[in-house]
């Protein structure tokens, strides 16, 4: 579904990503782990079209998309759940979900809204509230719900667990797994490597803008280097 080939990108003249290649097969859940500043967010922002790559290629469903604008990518089926959630704080929960369906004109929007509310009952309870008044976990659910409202084929999740209580983190990961099981391809970026590898099928390790390792998630979880560098002792 998605393939990066020798992708270089960054902000201004200096590249953060120095030639990244990775593949996300259709229906898979792939994770990208790495330390702070390794380039995880830059990778997702570049795929989503927010940052123009300086070289390399991005293929989505076999077609090059490196010059496609972010708003057009949403139409083609790429949705980003950004770092820090970025829900529109002064807009109601329901309006935040509806803006997620902005590019659609079919008659299934209402049904999809209902589906999001079924998945996240907290959002239904708070649908008239301002998004900014909700807790971090609820905002994360909203950010995921907003992305789902676009009916993405590929869902990019940028550090969905950041700053959330452990119980909420488990809920969010369970939800991601469910979304994947329903057929949406997922690329997630995480600092919480253990959790990410536990729901992903395949993982890449990003180090200073380069891929330093990759493998089946189960193998990475058992690799001594990965355990030492990213999984800690717990």
């Amino acid at each position: 579904m998605l393939e990066l080939r020798q992708l270089c990108a960054g902000y201004g003249p200096v590249d953060v990503l120095e030639g990244i290649s990775l593949t996300v097969p259709t229906g898979a859940c792939v994770c990208l782990i790495g330390a702070n500043g390794a380039g995880k967010t830059t990778t997702l922002s570049t795929i989503a079209g927010l940052i123009a790559p300086s070289s390399g290629d991005i293929l989505f469903e076999g077609e090059p998309i490196r010059r496609v604008a972010a708003e057009k990518l949403v139409q083609r089926g790429v949705s980003l759940v950004p770092e820090g959630r970025r829900v529109v704080s002064n807009m109601s929960v329901e309006d935040n979900l509806l803006i997620g369906a902005y590019t659609r004109s079919d008659d299934q929007i209402g049904a999809d809204l209902e589906r999001v509310y079924q998945r996240f009952s907290r959002l239904r309870e708070r649908r008239r509230q301002f998004a900014g008044q909700m807790s971090g976990g609820e905002q994360q659910m909203l950010a995921i719900g907003r992305a789902l409202m676009a009916r993405p084929k590929l869902l990019l999740l940028d550090q969905a667990s950041m700053g959330l209580a452990p119980q909420i983190v488990s809920d969010i990961f369970r939800t991601i797994r469910e979304i994947n099981n329903l057929g949406t391809t997922i690329l997630l970026v995480e600092q919480n490597a253990r959790k990410a590898l536990s729901i992903a099928s395949y993982g890449y390790v990003l180090e200073s803008g380069r891929i330093s390792g990759e493998g089946a998630a189960a193998d990475l979880l058992n690799s001594p280097q990965i355990v030492a560098a990213y999984l800690g002792g717990d």
């Binding site: 604008a69 807009m91 902005y102 590019t103 900014g132």
Partner: protein, 294 residues
Amino acid sequence: MSTFLQQLVNGISLGSTYAVFAMGCTLIFGVLNIVNMAQGAFFMGGAYFGLEAAQLGLPAPLALVVALLGGGLLGVLSELVIFRTLRARGGHRWMGLVASLALARMLVGVAQEAFGTQVQRYPASPLLQISWEFGGVRVQFLQVVILVVSLLLMAALAFLLQRSSVGRAIRTVAFSEDVARIVGVPVGRTILITFFLAGALAGASGMLLGNLFNVVSPFMGEQMLVKGLTVIILGGLGNVPGAVAGGFLLGLIEVFSVAYVSSSFRDAIGFGLIFVILLVKPNGLFSSFEERRA
């Protein structure tokens, strides 16, 4: 008492035109974080569009539509020619401020050439001149019409912003352009629509105030711009309901200061308010976390 009620009537109809004008100013600020100094010129332009239409024999409601569309057209052109160009070159937002000021001066110059510097008046309408008296308080039909039209424009804008897909897109762009892009909102087109709305509101308020005072001149927009700025500071920058409340408030303050203090102090009191409010409530009288932006 009847003086008080009379001023209340006058202040509400005057304030409603301020409110309509200020909604446009605050909308632009909410979305782009810039003050569009040409809003006053769009206001003046709208008054002339309406005037020309009325002189061609169009009935008043249609002339108002012409003023609305004409103002909107000026707004769209200013975005396409000036603001978009500056943004594409990474211009600082002060550049937009100065460039829009330059545009305002140019439009005033064009109006002077096209229509002369003489004050002009709308064709007299017997219907609008009807007035009623209730216990010493005179209410003109014109004042009622102006209030009703203003309230309709407010309701239309509120509906658009709160209930429509375009409105959600405008509010999302106001929150963050990147967030708008990741949900698929075309940022450039949404900003263009915002400029149309702001120009249309300015144009409509130009025709309304031109009728209320029965004066249309190339210079009418300059004072209005300063009033618009006062109102959006009163109401909180980018806050649409705040702009409405601030517009009515400024209209009432002006009218009451003329009636009870002196007409010489009308603007001094109105603009003195900005200073006081900036001291006491820097985010505007109606600021709250949720409502700060359009």
